[in-house]
Amino acid sequence: MAKRIGIEVSLAIAEAVKLAQADVIAAYPITPQTHIVEHLAELVADGELDANYIPVESEHSAMSACLGSAAVGARTFTATAGQGLELMHEVLYIASGMRLPIVMAVANRALSPPINIWGDHSDAMAVRDTGWIQIFTENGQEVVDNILCAFRIAGDQRVLLPVMVHLDGFHLTHMIEPIYMPEQNEVDRFLPPHQYPMPLDPNRPVTMGGFSPPYIYTETKKAQVETLAAAKPVILECWQEFGRSFGRQYQPVESYHSQRARVLLLTMGSYSGTAMETIDKMRAEGQDVGLVRIRLWRPFPFLQLRQAVKDAEVMVVLDRAISFGGPGGPVASEVKSALYNEKKRPRVASIIGGLGGRDITIAGFEAIINRGVEIAEKGSEQEFEMFGVRE
């Protein structure tokens, strides 16, 4: 039986990586991810985890070392945050394009300048087109569970793609939470041994990421598009299997009192907890509101999102990142494009808030919902609004 223990979420992630029996960890420490890789280094140094820990000189090198490790068929983990994820940027494409099943925890952090170590989703949104699977989590338990799921999804022979598990910096990484840590034998039953079909091997040489002239490059990208799309049912299957094994169920789009609600708030990540309390309060006051949370950000769950919001009149999307010069927050933009061709669809209001770790309280969410409804019903001259900015 799994024991429920009080543990800092970062440490719990490292313990989950140990349970998954990762072979190689290559990482560079950066706040707020540091405790994850520090604890992994400890586990390896103490002989509790039989893995190679590669302390590299930068995040670009961390991801590059992960490429090599995954390419020889080792179960590979890394973690980063904010600028670190940005420094990895070009290598992220290599990992997905070469179908290397790396698992990475991203302790979401704002991007500089000015320097800010606290949480928002700027880093995650900047890498949304890199071909990785991206899963957002709300609390420590969800992070641990989805780290285990990420290893299973990434290593599934139908997928073989890298997976990011997103957790909000500080709001999750530095919290001590009660978390059910599964037993080793339970994880072993859930997570098959890692296997890569065509690893780098001097006895059976292969070339990865070789030269692709115009006559073949489009075919390689088509294959990548189809593989990522085909990963979606495998992700759902993994979550179902996880639910059967551990009793906790995950969905690509999760709803909270959203059925037939007139107004829906949409959030991602740890702020969803406060959002749920807001919905409770507003519903108790007789308001017709609900909440929708996106857990699977890539591949984007178009069908499930359309299904979840089809009856609403207004959707208020909270983004914790900015698409500069663009139509609004990246999530709102995605939601709008997912709904544009639907015959019946809610009006979408785009609100940006919670940047650089700024809290949004229950009163704050209430104000966001009310303003969103106002924008949706009366219109706004702006494509999006930033919540809580002092004039």
């Binding site: 079909p197 065509m198 070339t207 070789g210 692709s212 073949i216 189809e226």
Partner: protein, 95 residues
Amino acid sequence: MAKTENVPWKKLKIGTIIDEPGSAVEYETGDWKSQRPLLEKAKCNKCGLCFIYCPEGCIRPDEEGYFIADLTFCKGCGICARECPKKAIMMAVEE
């Protein structure tokens, strides 16, 4: 013509892995060049530096020991001409 020219996307291996060593030889890079190396044998001392420097690996010694570029693969970069200590290689513009 390279073997992958008409391959449909479903036939590609995982991550477009190439499992046949040396398959680059099927891609004839010679048609990239805008100039070709011409060896003046009278000046050549057969030192082989051009062979060593050639980034394409397309220079080989002939029966007499002169190092000659295979124009099917030579991209015309001119490194051999630049490095030749005897100035025995001239780059001629392709017509």
